[in-house]
């Protein structure tokens, strides 16, 4: 497939290539992988979704990152979640990953732990990440892995105020609400990083659950370009809960609070076909519909606009 893909110039996004004598699918990612920046969100999510579509039927898949020059934090967590979800649920060595031609990016992929996180392996690989200094982690036992997350956060200087409480509630939300009750496990994926000059901080967490729009939109509220992002904004209002219990739904206040003390801070929520951004300066909300549905919910707390 050559020419244009969702408005972006591309070449050979998905094609079959010869790999050890067999023709297998290769997914070629674009120069930028990001989940919420307008131009790239749809394309990035579409390619990620191809991973899970192909994983159901293919014996082997090549993930081609050779042309990629930038992977945002959200893009990296999304890539981590999609690849390892497929490794856990289909085959541990399902993928061959071609790293970028950009050497600086390759170094960053290795130094941050992303390579260790996405290389072949299953649940044991992910469990071992907790014992390493990887910035990428995946948890599934709420209290245990929350505590490990805090232990890792405590190694950073100047952890943003109330971020621990926000992560606490985000993990509890995943445990209580993100998945169907009969799901095999309530897994999430996360990343944390501080800029070496200590001027910026980012924490990203995502699940592969039901999605907020599907949780809150009922048959009477037809999902469309307006209602889908609106449903995320609704979910982020204090007191909103899918449980029916009037004393619940306080977690959204925790989730917003860390970005309310500095006007450069930003909260981003991507869920299904919706993107929600919350800027602390004027407590404004931005709601956006995206064509390609993100398979789950991703939350990012950015304490410097330029970092993400």
């Amino acid at each position: 497939m050559n020419g244009k893909f969702m408005g972006l110039k591309i070449q050979n996004i998905v094609e079959r290539v010869d790999f050890k004598g067999e023709l297998i699918p290769q997914i070629t990612f674009l120069d930028r992988i990001c989940i919420y920046r307008d131009l790239y969100a749809n394309a990035s999510i579409n390619l990620l979704n191809l991973i899970l579509i192909l994983a159901k039927t293919e014996k082997h898949i090549i993930i081609n990152l050779k042309d990629t020059k930038i992977i945002s934090a959200s893009g990296a967590v999304a890539l981590f979640s999609y690849i390892t979800y497929a490794q856990i649920n289909y085959k541990e060595d399902l993928f061959t990953i071609h790293l970028p031609n950009d050497r600086a990016l390759v170094k960053r992929i290795r130094d941050t732990g992303l390579w260790d996180a996405i290389r072949s392996g299953g649940k044991r690989k992910l469990d071992k990440l907790w014992e390493s200094n990887s910035k990428f982690q995946s948890g599934y036992i709420a209290d245990t892995h929350f505590n490990k997350t805090i232990e890792a956060l405590d190694k950073y200087k100047n952890v943003p105020h109330r971020l621990k409480e926000a992560i606490n509630e985000a993990i509890l939300n995943i445990s209580h609400h993100a998945y169907h009750d009969n799901s095999k496990e309530f897994r999430w994926w996360q990343y944390c990083s501080q800029n070496p000059s200590n001027k910026s901080f980012i924490f990203v967490i995502c699940d592969k659950g039901i999605t907020i729009p599907k949780k809150f939109l009922t048959a009477t509220s037809a999902p469309d370009r307006d209602t889908i992002p609106e449903s995320i904004a609704y979910a982020m209002k204090e007191g909103t809960t899918s449980t029916g219990c009037k004393w619940r739904g306080k977690g959204s206040v925790n989730i917003k609070k860390p970005v309310e003390s500095d006007d450069r801070d930003l909260l981003i929520v991507v869920s299904g076909n919706g993107i929600y951004k919350y800027n602390s300066k004027i407590k404004s909300e931005e709601k956006q519909y995206i064509h390609s549905a993100f398979d789950g919910t991703l939350i990012a707390w950015n304490f410097d606009f330029d970092e993400a």
Binding site: A142, D143, T144, F146, N147, I150, D154, R162, K164, E165, N168, E169, L172, S175, K246, W247, R248, K250, G251, V253, N254
Partner: protein, 108 residues
Amino acid sequence: MKIDIASDFSKKPFGRYQADGKNSAEKFRNEFLIPAFQDTDENIEVFLDGVTIGFGSSFLEESFAGLLRNGISYIEVKKRLKIITDDHGYISEIWEYIEAQNNRSIID
């Protein structure tokens, strides 16, 4: 009477219900707060600052507002409960939950 969450209960309180883990709000409330209200007439000072991982809203709401859902009257809580912490945000948050639960009890 003093209850120090970190030293008496756990340095890592987490979650609302017992199913969320071994240091849940439900456990804290049932094993520490409710007995304190039922077994004594004293004021009850609850110390928060030994916990350094922070308190999620779910834990605070279920622990303290949950008292009113589990047989402790608002009058008793208002009279006897003292939250001791350097973080005044937690104090106002906890009382907000207690007041909200009381208001719901009056309406319902």
